[in-house]
Symmetry: C4
Subunit: 200 residues, 4 copies
């Protein structure tokens, strides 16, 4: 029943935990069950929902990558402060938009307004990336918040990786105005790149 150490602000652990819970909730699937009569009509209806499955897979895996990066970042943090809390809250707020923009992209991916859906989706990911990079830049300029033994090669590796991810988002968002499929292709490339780029 006792709380052994008195801590004046929120610990990195607590912040990571709360972020985890919010991230876990954002990666739920929301696809409507089609209401048809025959088996063949059901197969067609399910196949017709391919934009929903594709959008879900992209969003789940991009959010998974974001979670891994967020967690890795938190392993370097010794203590939190007000600015860090505010930046993290803004990062989570934009991340919480993902179910909505995923549904939007899915709804229009095979329709004339595909570019609008893909652009809004890309913009949301880009802004998530902006806040993620802002947290990282803030931390690297405030080494007092980081653990003393942080390896600078790791920091540089992460900086480079996060920038590449961010450039992907900006590019995919810009190209969505030309063609939504190109931006979807770039998201898939980003996910494959991320899956192989983590150092063990």
């Amino acid at each position: 029943m006792s709380n052994p150490h008195h801590e004046k602000l929120i610990t990195p652990e607590r912040l990571a935990f709360f972020s985890d819970a919010v991230i876990a909730i954002t990666i739920t699937l929301d696809i409507k069950v089609p209401k048809v009569e025959t088996a063949s009509a059901l197969i067609s209806a399910l196949a017709g929902q391919w934009t929903n499955y594709l959008s879900f897979v992209i969003s789940f895996l991009i959010t998974g990558v974001a979670w891994m990066n967020h967690h890795r970042m938190f392993t370097y943090i010794r203590k939190t402060n007000n600015t860090l809390l505010v930046l993290n809250t803004l990062f989570l707020m934009w991340l919480a938009l993902i179910p909505f923009v995923t549904g939007l992209m899915a709804e229009y991916l095979a329709k004339p307004a595909a570019s609008v859906g893909a652009f809004v989706y890309g913009m949301t990911l880009t802004i998530v990336g902006v806040f993620f990079n802002l947290i990282w830049i803030y931390l690297s300029r405030n080494p007092g918040l980081l653990l003393p033994k942080v390896d600078m090669r790791e920091i540089r590796f992460m900086k480079r990786q996060y920038s590449i991810g961010f450039i992907f988002y900006v590019l995919a968002t810009a190209l969505s105005l030309l063609n939504a499929s190109i931006s979807v292709g770039l998201y898939i490339l980003l996910i494959i790149y991320s899956a192989f780029s983590f150092k063990d």
Copy 2:
């Protein structure tokens, strides 16, 4: 597999954790994807949902502030008791209404019944604030529940900050009956104030 220390009631850690999970769930977004034909119609439809985005942003950030304050409060708690559990449950219950009242405010913010939605929203926040302040008042009158080394300047700082937040809610709720936009403006001011008022 072993539970090293036998604790008769719920620890502050557990209570904070459960509260975190409930709070994380309350800050999810629930906006319907518009169903239209053309790209320009989609842009108009998305723009027409601005009251939903604004309400989401306000609710997410106010809940974020509530989470930070709740966590800070728990860093002062040494042990829990029955009254604290009951007050915290009532605090969470009113907080769990936020998705509903956010949807209500969003639906009517640009319609004739805007004041009704904004008033119900403000009342909910006010009651959340009442229970938050009741927890704090109860704790400050039962120092046996607090950690021994608690800094009284911190306590006074928090008391002042929580009261200012509460006055904002009461004011915003009262003014919503005159004009819903004024109360929305006050919520935005409260969020900006909160973002800068945390001590590092």
Copy 3:
């Protein structure tokens, strides 16, 4: 990155944590925002949803009580086993029905079929109570699962309290067939009783 102690089964901590997450999700509110034109129509529509608010409050607080009892029970557990895991899973499964049966009771509380909704609601709570009591009975018959220093007065106090809660559920369920309002009244009594019966 290391996992210091090798544990063959799930720890009481982990089981409590997973249960917490499931319980937190079951106490969310799902009330539809009314779609009307004028302010007075909105006030009437909101007032007309009173059965939803009442059902939400009852479910939130009963689930809150269940959470507190579940947590208190887990403070006595030294280790878990297969039977305990199965009983806890069945307890959570019935608890996960609460949002559905709450919506059902709310929909019909002011309608001719009120007794059906209240009976299904009461039956669900009763079965939740059956599994809760089964866990407790199983634990008290397998002291090897409990911590060595468990105070038998505490155990008896909890046994008595859990039985009283269970009798309330059975009674409320049976009386719902006569009159739904009586069973709602009993739930409110149970909540008030629970709020005052925890030992600090």
Copy 4:
């Protein structure tokens, strides 16, 4: 406020925790409250939803079994690496499809297209099982990731049990094409088998 040990990647604990939160969210119930007039019509309508209840029970218990196995597996892990994170993310992604495929099976179980719903449901469980077994195979081929004192009899017991579960899924999926009821029967058998097969 301090983070005592610097860890370069995500700890098994953190990964287990995040997985817990995602799993907890996937086992929520989503059944519509029927809208009818009389008590007898409500009883009929509720009885008519039996496919929803059956599908919910199967999904809740299968997910519960998956959670227990996932947790048991994590008690053997000493550290994580990139491949493990990717495999776990893909496992969770397919698990996150369960609410959708449960709704699909429930909607069509008593209709002509029952086989389609049951096949899609079985395929999803089978792929969840594929990734679960891939994680286990990867771990057993990379003993550096496991704790040093791991008992090889336990490992063999788990391998056998996971394979049996997987064969059940493949069989149920294949047989769903002949008759959806047979596959439902096999899921129930699998759950009963799992409930009794855990070693204490």
